[in-house]
């Protein structure tokens, strides 16, 4: 609201009028021109020039919010516990610890999700399809996937084929789930195929964390 201008100025010699005093004090019909402006109508013009809103005046975790969930233990996956194709029902399994849910009380300018997950496998051909992909609000996010390549060479697990995915996703992307007011969730899920069908090889997953960072 603009600066207030009280409607009644008392003039010497006139009869005092209590209504006029009250109108200056509180007149919702004339906002902002009474002290009723204090009831939710204060705005930037009411501030003294020369100082800006500072951190101490701002409610915590209302302009910026976020947290991290994580785990540190390994999880072993065996391909014979997965369907044969990544298009089969239930082909992808949520990875414990690499998922997060949150409730948005308000809309945000930007929501950023980041995660860190490490995989290592003993699979021996590229056809042993080990895939990670990412969902927000149950929706598979396009272009958010990674592949754990096979690692065996000459019968040995190669030392440089373990992989880390330090991914990110942002709500600013066109077509992204809106993640507006309400409950939301996100997670990384995995498919572990086995071309030979033997199911003998392990893929070890070390979830580290998933985080959500939200900016008003």
């Amino acid at each position: 609201m603009p600066d207030i201008v009280l409607p009644n100025v008392f003039v010497s010699g006139n009869t005092t009028n209590g209504d006029a005093v009250t109108q200056n004090l509180y007149d919702p019909a004339a906002t902002p021109n009474s002290f009723e402006v204090l009831d939710g109508w204060l705005g930037n013009p009411n501030r003294q020039p020369g100082w800006d809103i500072r951190a101490q005046q701002i409610m915590k975790r209302r302009m910026v919010e976020g947290w991290m969930v994580g785990s540190t233990g390994p999880i072993d996956y065996f391909s014979n516990t997965f369907p044969t194709s990544n298009t089969d029902t239930g082909a992808y399994r949520r990875i414990p610890g690499c998922g997060i849910s949150w409730f948005s009380y308000r809309a945000y300018s930007a929501v950023v999700l980041t995660w860190q997950i490490i995989t290592a496998t003993a699979e021996d051909t590229l056809a042993d399809n080990i895939e990670l992909r990412f969902r927000v609000d149950d929706v598979v996010i396009p272009r958010q996937f990674r592949v754990q390549p096979f690692t065996q060479s000459l019968g040995l697990r190669s030392r440089f084929r373990d992989r880390i995915w330090s991914g990110h996703w942002c709500s600013l992307e066109a077509g992204a789930p809106s993640v507006g007011i309400g409950w939301h969730n996100a997670w990384v899920e995995m498919f572990h195929g086995d071309a030979a069908g033997a199911g003998a090889n392990t893929t070890r997953v070390r979830t580290r964390n998933m985080k959500v960072f939200r900016l008003r």
Partner: protein, 465 residues
């Protein structure tokens, strides 16, 4: 709190001084530090009227390291060991964590704050012998954050301990890009935030040509975004009001003076009028100045293939924007970001890409780890000039898993906070994009191919201290 006059003065009865005083005291009480969330209008405060460091403070440090691979031919011999590229940090293989110089901030001041720690760096490994990989983590106030540790380096039942290692098998400098990040609530005070790293030497592999130290951390940046920071209070004068007293004459002046005083105060509220922690998202504008995100990929077997050639460090030559055949991986700001504006701290950039193939164009007949994909971030100023952010250059090398080279499927994560120091004479940025190029230091033809999929880029310009 709301206010409503306790006494309603009316024309039908005489004015009582005490009734007037009571009503005025209520108003004055509100303005002496009790104006809370109810007293302010929706969207009352625009961004320029929020102090720069009121919501976010960005602490950052970075180091540029030119690995000079183009002159070393990608090889580790003879000049690169020791001591590694100028500005790099060599990680010992003692198995003990060391703080990575240049990825440490020791003066992060916070209140009851939320901190988002982002560390982004280039890992380079140079060896013709077998060595351990890299394990790294974030540490705050001396405590390692377990949820950020990469791999295990536990060789109990795995010879290599699930480590992060590059293929350096044929006298190559191998490269991997790393990002560690964490979001934490912290207590008020000064904090030290750093990246720690270690390597090991598997016990059953005693031979190392150059000793134990063959792991370097090169280009690197540590960004700590403090949400809800601490900021010193300002002083204020309060409201000076003399109440009407018993025996005073009721005159026009005796009524006008206190009303005018309060009117002026309401129109000129000082810092102390507002109660602590009373303003929030409903009153204040976002600290996001502008931003955007995009992603590209090709979902078929035909990947975009890049065959440009790396020029030299931080050069604008030789790069091509990552593109899926139709869309560039770039963020175009709806309003250009003026990094010269004192309120604009910078642009937070997050990039991920999946390098699927690195090979020579002939089909990869040679099994070599000396082909490279090089990925970086560029910004464009409003004159249309792109600038390569040197510290974001990341080298990823090919792997020898037989001939032709197999797909490495490496994630390339990069985080950067772009500031005015990254710009030239023009400080206004209208685009941020992800670029890629290739390098072939195996010798022979220089037509290396790099394929990428699953790439996404985010750029957010922030008001922050």
């Amino acid at each position: 709190m709301w206010w409503y006059p306790r006494n309603r003065l009316s024309a039908n009865r005489p004015i009582d001084f005490e009734e007037v005083n009571e009503d005025l005291r209520q108003v004055v009480s509100l303005m002496e530090g009790n104006l809370g969330e109810h007293n302010w209008n929706l969207a009352a405060i625009t961004r320029p009227n929020v102090a720069t460091a009121a919501v976010l403070v960005v602490n950052r440090t970075s180091t540029d390291v030119d690995p000079d691979l183009e002159n070393a031919g990608g090889a580790v011999l003879p000049a690169r060991i020791p001591p590694g590229p100028a500005g790099s940090v060599r990680i010992p293989t003692s198995g003990e964590y060391v703080v990575v110089t240049g990825l440490s901030l020791s003066n992060v001041d916070t209140g009851n704050s939320l901190v988002w720690i982002l560390a982004s760096f280039q890992f380079m490994q140079s060896s013709i012998a077998n060595s351990g990989g890299l394990q790294c983590a974030l540490r705050i106030d001396g405590t390692t954050i377990p949820e950020t540790v990469t791999g295990t380096l536990d060789t109990t039942n795995d010879r290599w301990g699930e480590n992060m290692m590059a293929d350096t098998g044929n006298t190559t400098t191998g490269g991997i890009a790393f990002v560690l990040d964490a979001i934490l609530d912290v207590t008020p005070g000064r904090h030290t935030i750093e990246v720690v790293a270690k390597s090991n030497k598997p016990a059953d592999i005693p031979m190392m040509l150059f000793g134990d130290n063959v792991i370097d951390i090169c280009n690197r940046e540590l960004v700590v975004i403090v949400g809800d920071p601490s900021q010193a209070d300002l002083s204020g004068s309060g409201v000076s009001l003399t109440p009407l007293a018993e025996g005073d004459s009721l005159t026009a002046a005796s009524l006008n003076t206190p009303l005018d005083t309060i009117e002026n105060e309401v129109n000129d509220l000082d810092y102390t009028a507002i109660r602590k922690e009373s303003l929030h998202d409903q009153h204040l504008a976002s600290m996001v100045i502008t931003g955007g995100a995009g992603s590209v990929s090709v979902g078929t077997a035909v990947h975009p293939v890049y065959t440009n050639n790396y020029s030299n460090y931080a050069s604008t030559a030789g790069w091509v924007v990552i593109n899926d055949g139709a869309t560039d991986l770039e963020v175009i700001f709806s309003t250009p970001v003026d990094l010269g504006d004192a309120d604009v701290r910078g642009i937070l950039v997050l990039l991920n890409g999946l390098v699927t193939n690195i090979r020579d164009a002939g089909g990869g007949a040679v099994a070599s780890s000396r082909y490279y994909a090089v990925v970086a971030i560029q910004v464009r100023d409003t004159t249309g000039t792109y600038r390569t952010i040197g510290r974001t250059e990341r080298f990823i090398n090919s792997e020898r898993m037989g001939a032709p080279q197999v797909a490495p499927f490496r994630d390339v994560p990069i985080r950067a906070f772009i500031t005015s120091a990254d710009m030239g004479a023009t400080l206004t940025v209208d685009r941020v994009r992800a670029v890629v190029t290739t390098a072939n230091w195996e010798g022979g033809a220089t037509d290396t191919e790099v394929s990428m999929r699953g790439c996404n880029l985010t750029a957010i310009a922030l008001q922050a201290g």
